[in-house]
């Protein structure tokens, strides 16, 4: 990205809050699922949202695509404010922004043929039957599926093949931004690398921007240019991938990296592990200060009461911690 180019997606101080009603087993209250997140995604680049369940990574992505209503903040696509688009304007945006979910079996209608699934966005956009037909074979070829698959039902395909179909459908209208929500997590290990290779190839060829959501840090490191580590709806640390993995500064990023078991018994058994105590706190009663304070191994007196701002660290990442330099 050059300094003059405008990033494709700009998210500014995004907040998504949910009101919970009182009920059996729940006291009710406000869940700040996303609480002030800002980032850019440029064409041809991948930004990863990383974190554990309840950190707000999926909610952030859903707010970008309009599946959740932001409580506050702005989402700009190509410079245009899309935060609160509705109706036909929101529908038209689907040409530019598409989403791929974790479970391809749930994302495909089991009674629709592959060709029908892939051509649905084209039909909605008013393509003629002939144009659709040639576009479908182009798309299946693009994602590495034989043309013979077009008349089959999803049940005749393996998980990896189904995810290729979902990707083909997402690409149908030539979007510029793909939101990838755990796109390989439901796939068998021997199939994951096929789909990861496909995603990298598509990005190179089509200059796609990816907003990539994953809990698998090895996959994030492989695919992304930049990562944001989220915890209870706020950014703990962000930065270019190399720095985030080689010189993380925030104690949560360090713990998260240390928690991934490496597929190498010698390395894995001798490395020093940071094992966090306790559980992720309930998003209903987050601590008033730093969200990470209840599990932080290095907390000091100020941490429970004051919330640290993101600032640049010695390594070049940005971290929200009073103790990073």
């Amino acid at each position: 990205m050059t300094a003059t180019a405008q990033p494709l997606l700009q998210v500014r101080d995004l907040k998504v809050h949910f009101k919970l009603r009182r009920g059996v087993g729940t006291p009710g209250g406000l869940v700040k699922a996303v609480d002030g997140i800002s980032f850019d995604v440029a064409a041809g680049r991948t930004v990863a949202l990383v974190g554990e369940s309840g950190c707000g990574k999926s909610t952030t992505a859903y707010a970008v695509i309009g599946l959740e209503q932001p409580t506050d903040g702005k989402v700009l696509f190509d410079g245009r404010d899309i935060t609160h688009l509705r109706g036909s304007e929101r529908a038209n945006l689907a040409r530019d922004i598409q989403i791929v979910f974790q479970d391809p079996s749930a994302a495909l209608n089991p009674k629709m043929s592959i060709a029908d699934s892939v051509s649905e966005p084209l039909a909605i956009a008013g393509w003629t039957r002939n144009d659709r037909r040639s576009r479908i074979s182009e798309l299946l070829d693009r994602v590495g599926l034989p043309a013979a698959f077009s008349e089959r039902l999803p049940s005749a395909l393996s998980g990896g093949q189904r995810q290729r179909v979902v990707i083909a459908r997402a690409l149908a209208l030539s979007p510029r931004l793909l939101i990838l929500d755990e796109p390989v997590s439901a796939l068998d290990v021997s199939i994951r690398s096929q789909v990861l290779n496909l995603l990298l190839e598509l990005q190179r060829d089509l200059d796609l921007a990816y907003l990539f959501i994953s809990h698998d840090l090895s996959v994030v490191r492989h695919l992304a240019d930049e990562a944001m580590v989220l915890y209870l709806g706020t950014v703990m640390e962000r930065g270019p991938i190399d720095l985030m993995f080689e010189a993380p500064q925030h104690p949560y990023t360090k713990a998260l990296l240390s928690a991934i078991p490496l597929p190498d018994p010698v390395l894995q058994r001798k490395r020093e592990k940071i094992i966090l105590t306790g559980d992720l706190p309930s998003p209903l009663s987050p601590p008033p200060g730093c969200p990470f304070v209840s599990r932080c191994p290095i907390r000091v007196e100020i941490c429970p009461t004051a919330r640290p701002e993101l600032r640049t660290t010695v390594s070049g990442t940005e971290a929200a911690c009073f103790l990073t330099r």
């Binding site: 093949q161 290990v189 021997s190 492989h222 713990a255 597929p263 018994p265």
Partner: protein, 326 residues
């Protein structure tokens, strides 16, 4: 384990059929006291069925048509349901992937931990309560006596898995089967549970069969590894050589497809062509041959699981060429 010891678990030539399909095909393995054996493989490889058969928990459609399963030397297959009930939760126990789904939602967690003690050891409610709370504290549940009175919905997923582990270990079983015990958990919680299992094998002394698809978890915890593909063991051995010098092409390629924290970013990853076949479409001979870069005419015949090193065996006609496989 010395040679004179009877292994805690010895599976010999186990065959399981479902419908007309042979889902587990002549599987043999053995496990000594205090050891951790990982069974690794992808969906449909037979790893879970192999483990479930030990406890007599196979689905109705599945039939054991051959082989032997011995727990501390005692043959389990001829046993009836009553005898198996005596063993389950007592001598041999299992924990599953979904801790929340494994617990009874209407029963206080403390009661679920002490249930096995009352059932198998005939302990009074009071005596069992004390032991249960001690075990809950041992598996890292803070404020265990208060937690014991809570219901599963009041606990996090990680805490529920600790409850499952406490319930599984309360009778100090000789064998614990852990079926994807951390797959449903967040990574920082997974790290806690792995640490706990590493700790416990020392002081409870249970042998552990760990079923997983995650090579990182295997590298972290296992002493020995069985790699399964298409209902068969394709490679087995101590964890170091399995990772450092695998001798079956499937093991080698599986490890090579995983992005690592050291590898070059954005490069094209090694792939295994094709898909994981289902039992109806397993080929004759070596089941991996349709996806294997080393396959040739020889592979139409089924390769035996042959020794390739100390305690290390691989079922491949070309195991000598696997190292050169880039």
């Amino acid at each position: 384990m010395s040679v004179t010891d009877v292994p805690v678990l010895a599976i010999d030539d186990l065959v399981i059929d479902i419908g007309g399909n042979r889902i587990v095909d002549h599987v043999s393995l053995s496990l000594g006291s205090g050891r951790i054996l990982a069974i690794v493989g992808e969906s449909g490889c037979g790893k879970s069925l192999t483990a479930l058969s030990v406890l007599g928990l196979l689905p109705k459609a599945a039939r054991i048509t051959g082989g032997e399963i011995r727990l501390n030397g005692r043959d389990l297959l001829p046993l009836g349901e009553a005898a198996l009930s005596d063993i389950r939760g007592n001598e041999a126990t299992i924990i599953f992937q979904e801790p929340v789904a494994s617990l009874n939602p209407l029963m206080r967690v403390g009661e679920q931990v002490e249930e096995a003690l009352r059932l198998h050891r005939g302990l009074s409610a009071n005596a069992a309560r004390g032991e249960a709370i001690a075990m809950m504290a041992r598996v890292g549940i803070p404020d265990a006596s208060r937690r014991a009175r809570q219901y599963p919905f009041e606990l996090s997923g990680g805490m529920c898995q600790r409850i499952m582990i406490a319930a599984a270990l309360i009778c100090r079983p000789a064998l614990l089967i852990a079926d994807e015990p951390t797959t449903a958990l967040d990574v920082t919680i997974q790290a806690q549970i792995l640490e706990l299992m590493r700790d416990l094998r020392g002081d409870v002394g249970s042998a552990i069969v760990l079923i997983t698809h995650d090579m990182g978890v295997v590298a972290d915890l296992a002493d020995d590894v069985c790699v399964m593909y298409g209902g068969r063991i394709v490679e087995s051995g101590p964890v170091e050589p399995i990772f450092a010098a695998p001798r079956h092409p499937y093991t080698k390629l599986l490890l090579a497809t995983i992005p690592t924290l050291q590898g070059q970013r954005k490069m094209t990853l090694r792939t295994i062509e094709g898909m994981v076949p289902s039992a109806e479409s397993w080929p004759d001979g070596c089941r991996f041959r349709t996806r294997c870069p080393l396959a040739d005419e020889a592979c139409v015949a089924t390769p035996p699981l042959a020794d390739v090193g100390p305690g290390h065996a691989a079922a491949c006609w070309h195991s000598a060429d696997v190292e050169a496989l880039a």
